[in-house]
């Protein structure tokens, strides 16, 4: 039992802060820290917050757009890397966005955008998010590819299909679960991403994390507790749904 202490500590450590935020979100009083009775007032406040609504819309636009780019580029890249090259350099380029510290990528992109004199806006964030999105999709699809049988593609060619037909009719359907998983990952990463967005977003187009950042920075209000709880609920539901979904598709 003694050996399990760090294990239990880890889970308590991970969940206590979240629980405190959730409990405080239904606090009637003005303090984000101390309890003064049940109330849903802060959720009402949240629903009417224009800034948060703008941030949310921006975030969804960025996430959807970058995921679309990332899914197409990442899938092609994964197939190309797995089937058509053995270059270590290309491999490294495709995995670099995953390990590179976000701040380094953020200043690089800022420098690059300023060099080509691109005015920062929402699309500059979108293009930036597509970079790590592509790497994420490529990584997930590649793991799926390594478990897929290359003989399927060879069989298709042997039966007279050309490269494009084989790609569309054989490769893509086999990879579909991997592509969906990769796209979901790219979307989640984009929704959550703060540092790169902070550096590359125009002043008129803050994403939701940027809005949260400024709220937290300029004073803690219980409204953040409510917002945090809503976000937690959405992510938890999404993760559990994905979990259920992958279990179902794997069983088939």
């Amino acid at each position: 039992m003694l050996k399990k202490i760090p294990f239990w500590f880890a889970y308590v450590f991970l969940y206590v802060p979240i629980l405190v935020v959730v409990v405080m979100s239904v606090n009637a009083g003005d303090s984000p820290y101390s309890w003064s009775g049940f109330g849903l007032g802060w959720y009402a406040e949240l629903a009417h917050d224009q800034e948060i609504r703008t941030g949310l819309v921006n975030t969804l636009i960025v996430a959807a757009g970058s995921t679309a780019i990332a899914t197409v580029l990442g899938t092609m890249l994964a197939v190309g890397l797995a089937r058509h090259t053995r270059s270590k350099v290309l491999d490294a380029i495709a995995t670099l966005p995953v390990i590179l510290p976000d701040i380094v990528m953020a200043i690089g992109l800022l420098a690059f955008y300023s060099l080509i004199q691109l005015t920062l806006g929402l699309y500059s964030v979108l293009l930036a998010h597509a970079v790590f999105g592509t790497a994420a999709v490529a990584a997930v699809v590649r793991t799926r590819l390594t478990s897929a049988d290359p003989a399927l593609e060879e069989a298709s060619r042997d039966l007279g299909a050309n490269g494009l037909t084989t790609f569309l009719r054989i490769t893509l359907p086999t990879l579909a679960p991997g592509i969906v998983a990769g796209a979901l990952l790219a979307f989640t990463l984009s929704v959550d991403e703060f540092v790169i967005a902070f550096f590359t977003a125009g002043p008129q187009s803050p994403t939701l994390p940027i809005v949260i950042y400024s709220m937290v920075r300029f004073g803690v209000t219980p409204e953040i507790n409510a917002l945090a709880t809503v976000l937690l609920a959405v992510t938890f539901t999404a993760i559990l749904a994905v979990q259920r979904l992958t279990r179902l598709t794997e069983r088939r």
Binding site: I93, P101, V104, M105, D192, V216, A228
Partner: protein
């Protein structure tokens, strides 16, 4: 010929995109380190070593050292908590294992700022921790918990602990159970078998976890700002300020290079430890 066309069609767009928006920006950052800052921000393309000289000025070197120290302590704590956690998870029955793993990554998928914010709520003078301490009569006055180094470490640890547990779990999970039986058969007590077999075989995973925790901790500027209250600046804060406030991009780039350099060194160590076990299941 046809194969070549196919290769270019598949690889071209993705690699082109990553080159334009990652390789080129990185090269830019790297090249900025040897240029000078213009009078009103911007760049003067005259080579200089001034940026590097400034980076080792005690004022900034101190920040670098503090950053490495904080990221190092965070990594060490993550390892000390994460290893036993991964070990317990790896030995759970199948169903409990799935639940434990999902529970481990769930908080990780919630917004990073929210996770940091939760610690402000916990650690503030009127927060839960101080409430508990004063309530139990352990202290008379609320302690200054927020805006301290331990607060930064707690915040970083909270954000990156799963990144330590996951690679360790993966490595422990696939370890051949016969190896421990072999160790017992050759006369090793369970504790001895752990130190001589399990631990060395999970060394590459330990280093992977350390890279995963150390690198983002080092470059982080949100946690030091929100939980450190600006009193304890880390290298990430310096980089951010050089780019967004002081507009001294060359110097900011030089500081960022220090972070990248540490990343490279860690990756090399990690690759080396993996190669030592090459051919085994644990490479």
């Amino acid at each position: 010929m046809k194969a070549k066309l196919e290769r270019i069609t598949l690889l071209g767009p993705g690699l082109g995109y990553l080159t334009a928006l990652m390789v080129v920006p990185l090269a830019l950052v790297l090249s900025y380190t040897i240029f000078q800052r213009g009078r009103f921000g911007g760049l003067v393309y005259e080579p200089t070593t001034e940026n590097f000289r400034r980076a080792v000025d005690p004022l900034y070197l101190d920040v670098l050292v503090t950053s490495v120290w904080i990221a190092g302590v965070t990594t060490l704590l993550a390892l000390l908590i994460g290893y036993p956690t991964a070990y317990v998870i790896a030995h759970l029955p199948k169903r409990a294992k799935t639940i434990a793993l999902v529970a481990l990554v769930l908080p990780f998928w919630t917004n990073f700022l929210i996770r940091t914010y939760a610690w402000i709520v916990l650690l503030s003078p009127a927060g839960l921790v101080n409430d508990a301490l004063t309530g139990w009569g352990l202290v008379d006055e609320p302690l200054q918990l927020l805006y301290t180094k331990p607060a930064i470490i707690a915040g970083l640890l909270y954000s990156y602990l799963p990144l330590m547990v996951l690679p360790l779990y993966a490595s422990l999970e696939k370890q051949d159970g016969h190896l421990l039986e072999a160790a017992a058969n050759l006369g090793a007590r369970p504790a001895r078998a752990f130190w001589t077999v399990t631990l060395p075989l999970t060394l590459p995973a330990m280093l992977t976890g350390c890279v995963f925790v150390f690198v983002p901790s080092l470059g982080n500027f949100v946690v030091p700002e929100l939980l450190g209250g600006g009193r304890t600046a880390m290298v990430g804060n310096l980089v951010r300020d050089q780019f967004l406030k002081a507009r001294d991009w060359p110097f900011g780039a030089t500081l960022a290079l220090a972070v990248v350099a540490m990343l490279v060194v860690l990756l090399l160590i990690q690759a080396w430890s993996g190669r030592r076990l090459q051919g085994s299941d644990h490479a």
